[in-house]
């Protein structure tokens, strides 16, 4: 899967640019590029629902981030103990990646999934629900409680944003 590895390398380079750029607008644009690369990766991995969803969600996320960062830059100041902090973080990340490499050997080989529960959905999805799109039948018929929970989370997030951004203040008398 050489194209998948090239896409992942592109996403890693984009993420490094997003983390290290001085200008806030440049790093927001780099995060947008990482999201679009992810949408292409979903398409290569044969998941068309996810590719459409990730593309439009990435566009909306870019609009929201640009609204927060416009005209609000910050000059970079190095605080004290910079060397100690950076080196300890890098040591932590190297230890994490080493342990992750040891535990990745227990996963099934890439390309041969276990499919214990999903074999059921694949074989009798059409006869039990009548939908041709099996992902829709899993979301809205076999696992409809998760969709109910997701609708609740979205509702709560909208209420949270409206509550945070209201005009507050005391009435001067």
């Amino acid at each position: 899967m050489i194209e998948l590895q090239l896409l992942l390398l592109f996403m890693i380079v984009g993420a490094i640019i997003a983390v290290e750029a001085r200008d806030l607008l440049s790093s927001v644009v780099a995060v947008g590029a990482v999201g679009l690369g992810l949408s292409l990766a979903f398409l290569v991995l044969k998941a068309p629902d996810l590719a459409i969803t990730q593309l439009v969600v990435e566009i909306l996320c870019l609009i929201i981030l640009i609204r927060a960062t416009i005209n609000r830059d910050l000059p970079l100041i190095k605080d004290g103990r910079w060397h100690f902090n950076t080196i300890s973080t890098l040591v932590f990340i190297v230890v994490f990646l080493g342990l992750a490499y040891l535990s990745l050997k227990d996963l099934p080989v890439f390309g041969q999934p276990l499919l214990r529960v999903a074999a059921n959905y694949l074989s009798e999805g059409l006869s039990k629900t009548g939908a041709a799109n099996l992902v829709s039948s899993v979301i809205l018929d076999f696992r409809a409680y998760d969709t109910l929970g997701e609708a609740t989370v979205l509702f709560t997030a909208v209420m949270g944003v409206l509550a945070v951004m209201r005009k507050t203040g005391r009435i001067k008398d």
Partner: protein, 112 residues
């Protein structure tokens, strides 16, 4: 095997950004990178080599489809990630209006 490892390298770039940056918007960007890495990891686990998309077609018998359960879980996770990013950006805008800066080392005064 190497693809899983590249996905975890993307995850660790997000972790480094959250731990080391002082600008609040950079921390939000690190959170977005972590979300991308985790969603990609789920789909990588459920991929079948030379598989086909889990959508049936008329008069065709498709035997090797990729895992549809993982795609259903990640579909809701992407939309929930957008909602939480919007909430944390709203809080960041309010912090800027109250303190005048995005620097997290200067936002430590707890006022009643």
């Amino acid at each position: 095997m190497s693809i899983y490892f590249l996905c975890l390298v993307l995850f660790s770039i997000g972790i480094y950004c959250i731990l080391r940056k002082r600008n609040l918007i950079k921390i939000i960007i690190g959170l977005a990178i972590i979300e991308y890495a985790v969603n990609l990891f789920f789909i990588l686990v459920g991929y079948r080599m030379h598989g086909r998309a889990p959508i049936l077609a008329r008069d065709q018998e498709i035997l090797n489809m990729v895992d549809p359960l993982v795609q259903a879980l990640v579909l809701t996770a992407i939309v929930i990630g957008l909602a939480t990013t919007a909430l944390i950006v709203a809080i960041a805008i309010r912090i800027y209006e109250k303190y005048g800066t995005f620097d997290i080392t200067k936002i430590k005064k707890l006022r009643g």
